[in-house]
Assembly symmetry: C4
Homo-oligomer: 286 residues x 4
């Protein structure tokens, strides 16, 4: 019976950590998000010299508090899940691990701090707490539109890169090193800056011929900007129409909750679901 009890304890912790439907689970997720945001703000503040000079110790301590809490959370996640390997090698498992280790790494190697940038990805958890199936639906639809226009966008990106290499080399030959086009990779970089209409202006053509070629590149870029927009727009209209035909808003009435199966970690279960739709594991009994 003690085994069952222990199992129950794990089950409850699992519910708190992995779900946002119970009050405890909601509180846990809110606290977690606050700490994720705090950890990002901490890293940002550390990078500002004036602030780091004044409050170095406070920031250092804060960073350790966040690291210890993240470590505890990571361990708890592994313990309460039935198949820890599945969690560890899942997208969020890897992100959780990488956002926890930078401080430990800083003992051994310098630069391990680079991983802290990945903490921002943890913010994606916000979608779960908002429990907005609507938002997930929106992102699915977006992903769908992007996915079905993948082939076209690949062709397009390929064309952009080839054009950049050709025009970049041309500009290097026309403008030369004295006008900032010091080598071909830099020229290609300038070409992409121009094609995408970003236009930093740190490098700019000085010779009349260079400016003429730049004009062609810009007008081309202007036309090119229309292509991915047209593609996504058309695919999106299409998928929206299809969805309109298939169900007249019916699907939207099905409410999905933030439950995560303890066994296989699949999400988006229906509210009335008793068993996991992927592996058949009982969702509530544990």
């Amino acid at each position: 019976m003690s085994s069952t009890k222990k199992y129950n304890w794990k089950g409850k912790l699992h519910e708190v950590i992995y779900e946002a439907d119970t009050p405890a689970g909601k509180i846990f997720d809110v606290i977690l998000l606050v700490f994720i945001l705090a950890s990002i703000v901490l890293v940002m503040l550390e990078s500002i010299n004036d602030i780091d000079a004044k409050y170095h110790n406070a920031l250092y301590i804060g960073e350790w508090i966040v690291t210890i809490l993240f470590s505890l959370e990571y361990v708890a996640r592994i313990i309460t899940v039935k198949k820890p390997k599945k969690y560890i090698f899942s997208f969020f498992g890897i992100i959780d691990f990488l956002s926890t280790i930078p401080m430990y790494l800083s003992f051994f190697i310098i630069g391990g701090q680079a991983l802290v940038a990945l903490r921002a990805l943890r913010l994606l958890r916000i979608f779960r707490i908002l429990k907005l199936a609507r938002y997930l639906g929106a992102s699915n639809q977006l992903a769908g539109a992007i996915k079905s226009s993948r082939a076209k966008i690949s062709v397009f990106l390929f064309a952009v890169i080839i054009a950049s290499i050709i025009f970049g080399t041309l500009m290097y030959l026309v403008e030369g090193e004295e006008n900032g086009f010091t080598n071909i990779p830099k020229s290609v970089y300038w070409c992409i800056v121009t094609l995408t209409t970003v236009g930093f202006g740190d490098i700019a053509p000085q010779t009349p011929l260079g400016q003429f070629i730049a004009t062609i590149i810009m007008i081309m870029g202007y036309g090119i900007i229309a292509v991915p927009t047209g593609i996504v727009s058309a695919e999106y209209t299409r998928s929206a129409n299809k969805k309109d035909e298939e169900n007249n808003g019916e699907l939207e009435k099905t409410h999905l909750n933030s439950q995560t199966c303890q066994n296989c970690l699949s999400t988006n279960h229906k509210d009335e679901a008793e068993y996991c739709y992927t592996c058949g594991h009982n969702l509530h009994l544990d």
Copy 2:
């Protein structure tokens, strides 16, 4: 009877101030708009040192004239409305108040002048005087398209912010302080400048690796620009089609006037309306 008379006087003033259908109301609104524009021009001229040095007194007097007229108008609006509280806490009530007080505030605190920027919002009144239900319809349709794509745009903006934090931190680590990426918030700022294809160029990557990452950010930004456009475009086509089906241009024939109910301040009454469609108050009798 004097009460009725007074009431009538108030009613007439209400008609002049709040409506643009009578000749007097039209003249009032035109004069008001001229003064709003004049007040904005005044503030702009004051900010130009050369002009302020030369004509300081004239500008100061002009500012006071505008302030006094705005004060009178504000008081008149409160007096002639049946439920002053409703007006005071309405969108335009607050804007009217805030555009009136800066000069009074300047006696007590410096910086109160910041509120003058809000005067521009008063220009929105122009839609009423133009009496263009057509324009209002256009802005409603726009608002509708934006509203129904809100969820998708939120997901999108969230993705942009997370990407900016990750790439911003990365660029800070790659480029470092010596190339202008002095701290992470500034790097994130640069990243948003680049993703949105604004590209000021006050900060620009100098190292080859930094330029390579910048290239990825720009091409990503290029693809990302397609997403909100595609969304709005698709939603817009959809809502336009729906409207086409529902009414074949019939709704557009219904002419709405600029009448404002004296009781509840609701607008967009039909031309033939005798009573407010929201509260049942008689629109013309007062």
Copy 3:
């Protein structure tokens, strides 16, 4: 009979000058376009100091040749048309006049040269010589899409201007004169540069708060860019669909020629037309 003869001579000249269907008319139009292009190139070359210093006399003579030819053409156009007033006050009549006079004006006033920029508008004649009803159709369809989305684009532009005034004033207060935001009009100018994602970078926010506000402006601008695109795109799809339904490509088979009625100057007559569809004047007999 001499009157008829003279009339015939005028009629023939009219056919040469105003139409591009006869070989003579075609040659006339090609020569005219060459001179228009030459006149634009002349003005450009004159503006380049090195070239002007070397070839000043040649350019001066060239400019006079162009001016005299344009004058002759202008007089011929007036003589051969039945209702000269109609031509003189038509769009092309005014453009023709303004592109002819700059050299004459240069005797009296300096700065009259500014009008030469309008010569570029004469290039629009190219559409007639290309005789591409297809292109005219394309530009009509474009104009139609823009026209039917006029109301929406007005609302949109109005919103952009109001936002620019508000944020421009805010940036002036936050950044101040020491960071390049020397006065409110300049701040508003910077705001529009940023909102439209042009981003020159001659002025850029330096304070953290200013950069934060700039971030908001940029992301807003990013969203805003989606709106006019979505509108035009939707209107365009709509009008294209409508056209598809109405005629299945049938209209495109009707061939329109470049004939201009000698009497009322209306264009786009059908190939088989004998009389002007606007005024009933005989198109070929004169």
Copy 4:
């Protein structure tokens, strides 16, 4: 029989060089792509002074290895094809020739190196090796959408150029040489930089009037950006709809291979094809 044997040997080499269906053909294409990429990287590295100074000899040898291999490949292609003229004057024939000769040219003339930029175009072969009829279909659809909106885009580009000339001349007159607008061609260049929202910022208006005109140009450019996007988007939606109606995905099931006819060089044969669909030549027997 020796003639047949020789023919067979040529046929086999043809299969290896021109096709990617046999294992040998696949390996050949992968190796070729690696060398194309290597040749592009070589040219880029050569252009970087530091690297060229250190490894000049290695790069020079590498360049010669690539040139000799490209020469061998070019000769092999000519030998194994039945109608060499057709190959030599085909798009890829010319590209292959131009990417091979720069090193030979460098003996005679300086600047022949400019042709190396064209090597990037050889990368287009990647589509064949990926054997992705899907991608080819995608690029065809794109090309179709662009083709059918050609007339509209021409009108649009023409309008952009005329507007640039007019506003460019205006800005030259307003800003003058002291603010960087040294001559009209440069002003026109600046105008295109602004209209396309690139905005380098190497030239920027300094006078209030110039900044006001710039504002108009930018807002115009903002509206103009909507036009090509709207066109492509609408054409694309249209062609996608048409394709949806014609075949319900049936065409996509027909699998095309990378076979090239030895006789007429036509590609995209069906998997079950025995004879060339263009000239009737036997595809496999040789």
